[in-house]
């Protein structure tokens, strides 16, 4: 992929060019079947450009960042900070509002621990301290990464976890909960990793603001797939992972509104995040350094910078349009197959490209195995959203999820595979 393409659908030849950038897409699996990779919701594949950027960095400029005064150290620091600036711009925020974490999970934990550490940190952090009976609000459609850290925060502070419920068609039920003056945090996904549902962010933010609660956005499934501007969304914190957006594993981002990051006490502590260290006590650097203890994932940040460049060169509007078309094709096709039950919205309104479903009463593992045998990689599990699955009375589902490199033909292969599952397990019509 080269060149700046900003409008309209991806053409067949563009899509071919994009696919050629991803070495893994040309491999075969299970008795020489071409790989049909429909598990990008779990982790995406990496284009050559990202692999090359990381390798060039390691072969030419590698050094510990923000620590050395020699030439390599300066070059490495420049590469790392340049990546931060480009990634920040990609999501509409300032570089010093972007903290590098190992994944989105760490980012959300950082906020949760920052809040409990506020109780003992003193100073500006006091505004964040939670008291027993305070409320943390999430939703029933959260990934475990945006659920368990809040349960544990409640355990540490005596706060109480509450949640918005999910309707039968997989939407957020805004009437299922009233925030209160005790609500201190409202944390929610930007897009369900199971159902694709995009909840009404503006309304959730409005309600949280009205009671003075902080908002935390789980942007893992939005940033890779559609244009996102955290400043415009007006959320306080947001987290996403590099590996889901064509970038390396081992790197994620936590966005925090500047004045909040400035007041938040540190989470991981150690080298590079300090101001003054004495045996008797230490003070800490301003953000983002305060939240980046130890030698960071340097080459991975550089790789994520390259991923953002790659996506920007295609244009996120076009990425979104392409995935929208794939999702629509999948939804339409699946809904025409007898016995298939889609979990979540069956239309394309406020919905991204994750499609989870059941095929008759075939267990997701069994269905996934048949698809795998055909070369089709989907995920068969609760997708780390177990409470949501329980809400729909199931243990696990089959999920197909898409990225910019998927093709309509791959959707058709999925649909054919679903027919094969029905045949193999004799699902009645």
């Amino acid at each position: 992929m080269t060149g700046q393409l900003t409008t309209g659908q991806l053409s067949v030849s563009e899509l071919e060019k994009i696919r050629a950038d991803f070495p893994i897409l040309s491999r075969t699996v299970r008795d020489s079947r071409p790989l049909v990779y429909l598990d990008s919701g779990a982790t995406s594949q990496r284009p050559r450009q990202v692999l090359d950027a990381e390798r060039a960095f390691l072969e030419q400029h590698n050094a510990a960042v923000h620590r050395g005064a020699h030439q390599l150290a300066e070059e490495a620091t420049d590469a790392y900070e340049s990546a931060r600036a480009r990634i920040a711009a990609f999501v509409g925020v300032q570089p010093d509002e972007v903290v590098f974490t190992k994944n989105a999970t760490e980012g959300i934990n950082l906020v949760a621990y920052g809040l409990s550490n506020s109780a003992v940190a003193g100073g500006a952090a006091e505004r964040f301290a939670l008291a027993p009976g305070d409320e943390i609000v999430i939703t029933e459609m959260e990934h475990h990464a945006n659920l368990v850290p809040w349960q544990e925060l409640c355990r540490r502070t005596g706060a109480v976890l509450r949640w918005y419920q999910v309707t039968d068609d997989g939407r957020l039920d805004l009437d299922s909960l009233e925030l209160s003056e005790r609500t201190k945090v409202v944390a929610f996904t930007h897009q369900s990793n199971v159902m694709g549902t995009v909840p009404p962010v503006a309304e959730l933010v409005r309600r949280a603001r009205a009671v003075g609660a902080l908002t935390v956005l789980d942007a893992c499934q939005s940033v890779p797939h559609t244009p996102v501007d955290f400043a415009a969304l007006d959320v306080d914190f947001a987290a996403f992972s590099g590996h889901k957006m064509l970038g390396p594993s081992g790197v994620g981002v936590l966005y925090g509104r500047r004045e909040l990051l400035e007041a938040l006490p540190p989470f991981l502590t150690g080298g590079s995040m300090i101001e003054i260290v004495k045996m008797e006590g230490s003070t800490y650097a301003p953000p983002p350094q305060r939240f980046e203890a130890g030698v960071p994932m340097t080459s991975q940040a550089v790789g994520l910078g390259a991923a953002v460049d790659y996506l920007s060169a295609i244009g996120m509007e076009r990425v979104a349009a392409h995935e929208y078309a794939l999702t629509e094709r999948a939804l339409t096709g699946l809904s025409e197959i007898d016995g298939v039950r889609i979990i979540g919205p069956s239309d394309c309104v406020d919905r991204g490209g994750a499609v989870s479903f059941m095929i008759g009463d075939v267990h997701a593992h069994d269905a996934g195995q048949v698809l795998d045998d055909l070369g089709i990689a989907v995920r068969a599990s609760h997708h780390c959203a177990w409470p949501l699955h329980r809400r729909f009375g199931i243990a696990a589902s089959v999920r197909a999820s898409f990225a910019v490199y998927n093709t309509p033909a791959e959707i058709d292969a999925l649909l054919a595979g679903v027919h094969e599952v029905r045949r193999f397990f004799r699902v009645p019509a």
């Binding site: 008795d31 997701a364 593992h365 069994d366 195995q369 243990a395």
Partner: protein, 157 residues
Amino acid sequence: MKLEQMYQEIILDHYRHPHRSGLREPFDAESYQINPTCGDEVTLRVALDGDRVADVSYDAIGCSISQAATSVLTDLVVGRTVAESAITMDAFMAMVQSRGKVEPDEKVLEDAVAFAGVSQYPSRVKCALLGWMAFKDAVGRAEAGSPDNGAQRAEAQ
């Protein structure tokens, strides 16, 4: 590796018509096991008669492999001694964890040799073992006189 090698007819038969399913009284111990990646669960009860397995009853949610493996298990252990069933269990575990490298002994494993194909799919090994783990745990409890782990643990959630 063909799909049919994993999903042998015998497995699909057990899946469609599981043997000894349902929870029964009396029992000496109960074990609740879960597969955290897919949410599959089994609650399994063991009734001993001296050193003999008198009954195994269970309630399970899971894929064909886990359901069929639990069903086959009951065929292989009910009526046998605890010691005999331990040998069967070891053979079953060795087979499914072998990545196709252990030639199953049909004399010991009988119908359970059908699960040999599972060993080629490492992510399904846990499925095949879910009920067996519950059986192992329940027998241990029965012998130790600590009757359940178990459903309790599930409720504690």
